[in-house]
């Protein structure tokens, strides 16, 4: 049997994946796609502006199709179908016979007829190609606008913000934003939140004309008003792509959707239509979950025909259009019937204008059932409300408790999961129910959300169900008596963030005080370094101050990394990698005198290895006298800020990257954090300093700096993501201050920024909102606190050598000071030495 799929979008891909899984014999699958890229995740298309490319977004690489025996033709749209003889022809000239044809052509943006819409600078928002075009054009644009205040339009407006366009205008024809999902009050709340973070919202506006010669320069509206803009994105709805089907005589609807029955068959029984091009019950389903369900139904039907079985196994019965989104960092959700009203309905409404929160529950008159609702500003309870609504669960006596702020309703939420029936659909994208998730935990031993994703596929689509998947995991594990609370260790029943806040609140200054007031028992090697790090991040007191010295990790306690054999390494700070010949000579002399192995590190400085613990104060005295200070190579602290030579010498350099790197390194030197932090500054996009692999990296632009955050080398490398564009040095430092304080306050122990971000709900968009838009209102306080830490900085090696009680600790034997550890052995190596092998 030869199955030909027209369209390699999200649903077309899912269809292939599901059909392959059935392992039918004698099956040939051929796919034609109009776009140049194999199917990608359109839902997360906007991540393109956070540094993702088509490969990152791909649902499967081109090789996947090959491995599964699927012929994939990209950039080759099907041009016509002769269904009477089951033949089709493509743009490149293929003529092909099919047994079954599947139309998965999706939809295209609806383009309203507006005078001037063909001008340069007017774009659509649907494909990777569109985004490429927008991105390059936006570089020369100062002002931007979007037509359409629906889900996609707001996402496009957000993209313009990300591209550095300030205060883009959103033009909506209807009297309110997201008219299909939100009621009036909800839309109003959303509009005021979006206005606060920099969007100009215009409702009730009808565009009459786009002005400008060749390129757009402005827009005129039917009410006589106008505005200026250099770029316009049109996102005014979708239009199903049924033109090909209509041409060969298939039945289509008014707006072009291809009419299908319960089995996804069109008016020709050998042709199926699925996804956004399919018109079911006079409805186009513009979301991904129903599209995947349609793919599943078509696969079932094709299997049935393939095996010549008379029994139909699966039908499409419509789909719930509930959605939860994060729009420009704001939660928006609507479920069930969001607008239900009238005599038989009780509306419960919670509205907090200060917090920008609006919640509405539509409850049946008898108070038993939830019919639908709207959530704006806080959608934490979305999953449980949706499940309660879909599964017709009986509401608690005070249904309003369900939408009270998360703190109070925590208990209910747990209870809510328990009450769900086993077949409650948790992940609608992949249709995974509650029982399947609980079973993955209890029988297949999945104890992380990632493991559950792998095992059941739940949460791999839009990801909206992940919080609920996690709750179910925790609940199932608890039932099995497993310990899961994210606590530090047996001595502290708190997470690191909780401890951080408590230590700050109670102004505790020593490890013992923290243990006495917040913990129990006598501590251990897990909580001691974690608490010490918190104390250092909060107060920046010398780490070896009495009372805190022995709670430091061994490397911090001796201000050096312990190496094989028990000697230490010495790493003086060389900010930005810049060093004078005089200082280089001193390093050489010191190394010679104390017999140290020297090596240029990967961090643009010099490491001296093989120092006996007793020699450390002597070595550091000489280095400090020559103007060096500690490089904190041993601490969970700022390490290096690498630089490239930049505009001072390089013919491509746009800014003085060395000076800025030195400024940054000197600002944050000694700053202690949950894990080490690294940075780099590059003088132009050639990126010789590798800033995009750093916890925070800075790259010069014509106008200033681009700031990237949360990159990582190490065993799981990860590129940093763009946080802000074209900022001046002062703003850049401000953002880094906030970013670092947020990280220090909330990360788990020993979590690098990349991992921290990966765990953060809302990801880089949320982070940007916190750092750039100050959505938590913490910016001023964080900047102040950072300045306090900067001002409190002293070189700890200097203090150590000048304080007799501390200096006394740098001895191998307590009863034979000055004597070296006789068991330390070195071997010779290329005119230097190395530590002897493990015994």
């Amino acid at each position: 049997m030869k199955v030909v799929v027209v369209g390699n979008g999200m649903v077309g891909y899912k269809f292939c994946e599901k059909l392959i899984a059935k392992k039918l014999p004698d099956l040939e699958i051929i796919v034609f796609g109009e776009e140049q890229y194999p199917a990608y995740d359109r839902v997360h298309l906007s991540d393109f502006f956070n540094g993702k490319n088509a490969d990152d977004l791909a649902l499967a690489p081109a090789s996947w199709y090959k491995e599964n025996g699927i012929q994939l033709h990209l950039g080759d749209p099907v041009q016509y179908i002769r269904n009477s003889i089951k033949l089709l022809q493509t743009f490149k000239g293929y003529v092909l016979h099919y047994d079954i044809l599947v139309m998965a052509t999706g939809s295209s943006p609806f383009v309203p007829r507006i005078d001037g819409i063909e001008k340069d600078g007017v774009f659509l928002y649907r494909t990777v190609e569109d985004l490429h075009l927008i991105k390059s054009y936006a570089k020369k644009a100062k002002r931007g606008a979007v037509i359409g205040g629906g889900l996609l339009g707001l996402e496009a407006a957000k993209a313009l913000l990300d591209l550095g366009i300030e205060n883009p205008d959103v033009i909506e024809f209807a009297p309110r934003l997201m008219p299909r999902q939100l009621d009036e009050a909800g839309a109003e709340m959303l509009a005021s939140t979006l206005t606060n973070i920099g969007l100009n919202i215009h409702t009730n506006k009808n565009t009459a004309k786009i002005t400008g010669d060749e390129c757009i320069t402005g827009m005129q509206f039917t009410d006589g008003t106008s505005l200026q803009t250099d770029i316009l994105v049109v996102s005014a709805g979708i239009k199903p792509r049924g033109e090909l089907a209509a041409e060969c005589g298939l039945e289509t609807g008014m707006n072009g959707g291809i009419v299908v029955n319960d089995y996804m068959q069109t008016s020709d029984e050998f042709i199926y239509a699925i996804g956004e091009c399919a018109l079911y019950n006079e409805m186009i389903y513009g979301l991904i979950a129903p599209g995947y369900e349609m793919a599943d139904v078509a696969v079932h039907e094709i299997c049935r025909i393939h095996s010549a079985s008379p029994v139909k196994t699966k039908a499409f019965t419509g789909f719930d259009m509930s959605t939860k989104l994060k729009l420009v960092g704001t939660d928006v959700a609507s479920f069930g019937d969001p607008f239900a009203n009238g005599d038989n309905v009780r509306n419960i409404i919670l509205r907090d204008t200060a917090k920008g929160v609006y919640k509405r529950m539509n409850v049946s008159a008898d108070g038993k059932y939830l019919l639908g609702g709207v959530l704006v500003g806080d959608a934490t309870q979305y999953n449980i409300l949706l499940q309660t609504c879909k599964n017709k669960l009986i509401l608690p006596p005070n249904p309003e408790d369900m939408i009270l702020p998360a703190r109070e309703s925590k208990k209910e939420e747990g209870a809510g999961i328990v009450a769900l029936p086993d077949d409650a659909l948790i992940c609608s994208c992949e249709s995974v129910n509650k029982a399947a998730i609980c079973k993955a935990v209890s029988e297949q031993g999945c104890e992380t959300v990632d493991a559950i994703k792998k095992c059941t596929k739940a949460g791999t689509g839009c990801g909206g169900c992940l919080p609920m998947v996690k709750d179910l995991m925790v609940y199932t594990m608890k039932q099995q008596g497993k310990y899961i609370r994210n606590v530090l260790c047996e001595h502290f029943a708190y997470s690191r963030q909780e401890l951080f806040d408590l230590v700050k609140l109670h102004e505790l200054k020593t490890y013992d005080d923290v243990l006495d007031q917040l913990g129990k028992g006598d501590g251990c090697e897990v909580c001691k370094p974690a608490i010490s790090s918190i104390l250092a991040s909060l107060w920046n007191e010398m780490v070896l101050k009495k009372g805190n010295d022995t709670s430091q990790d061994s490397n911090d306690r001796f201000l050096g990394n312990i190496q094989r054999g028990g000697t230490y390494s010495v790493v003086p700070r060389i900010p930005g990698g810049e060093i004078t010949p005089e200082k280089l000579i001193v390093i050489g002399q010191v190394a010679q005198k104390y017999g140290l192995y020297t090596k240029i590190t990967g961090g643009q400085r010099i490491d001296l290895f093989g120092a006996h613990v007793g020699d450390l104060p002597l070595i550091w005295s000489e280095l400090i006298a020559a103007g060096f200070e500690s490089g904190h190579a041993y601490g969970k602290a700022l390490r290096t800020v690498k630089s490239c030579v930049g505009s001072t010498w390089c013919r491509f350099g746009l800014q003085d990257s060395v000076s800025f790197a030195i400024q940054v390194e000197e600002r944050y030197r000694g700053l202690r954090a949950p894990h080490k932090i690294k940075s780099a500054v590059s003088g132009c996009i050639r990126e010789c300093a590798e800033a995009q692999s750093k916890d925070f990296g800075i790259i010069a632009t014509e106008k200033g700096w681009n700031l990237y955050v949360c990159g990582n080398g190490g065993s799981k490398p990860q590129h940093a993501l763009l946080l802000a564009t074209d900022v001046d040095s002062e703003t850049c430092i401000k953002y880094i201050d906030r970013f670092l304080m947020f990280y220090i306050r909330t990360a788990d122990p020993l979590t690098r920024t990349a991992t921290w971000l990966n765990k953060m709900e809302g990801g880089i968009n949320y982070l940007r909102n916190v750092v750039v838009n100050d959505s938590l209102g913490m910016a001023a306080q964080w900047e102040l606190e950072m300045q306090g830490l900067v001002d409190a900085y002293v070189c700890e090696w200097k203090v150590a050598i000048e304080t007799p009680e501390i200096r006394k600790r740098f001895n191998h034997f307590i009863n034979a000071p000055g004597e070296k550890d006789p068991t330390v052995k070195f071997d010779a190596l290329r005119d230097q030495k190395k530590a002897a092998n493990w015994k």
């Binding site: 001595h491 013992d512 028992g521 251990c524 307590i814 009863n815 550890d821």
Partner: protein, 119 residues
Amino acid sequence: MIKQNDTAVQNAHWFAACRVEDVVENGGVCVKYGDEQIALFYFTRRNEWYATQNECPHKKQMALSRGMIGTKNNEPKIACPFHKKTFSLTTGECLSGDECSIKTYPVKVENGNVYIYVE
């Protein structure tokens, strides 16, 4: 552990290691006894003294005195600074699931002097 009035057996005797104030609070120091290296710990929080061999049996590193002390279910322990293997300070048994164990020594304090019982 504080042991009072132990009687010496054959060669074994109480060796005067150092003064109380020489030992860092809630941490360890290394004591030289001939060719032997002994890690001496002052668990100030519990007012207890312990001594063990200084060599970590895992990779044979002279390092335990530089480790961190703590408890596991109220059992005092030392964590090696190299790979954080932990050992009971009372029995010397490895608490991280390894076969190896360390030698422990009795300790006593008299008139501000710290004595270790060696054989």
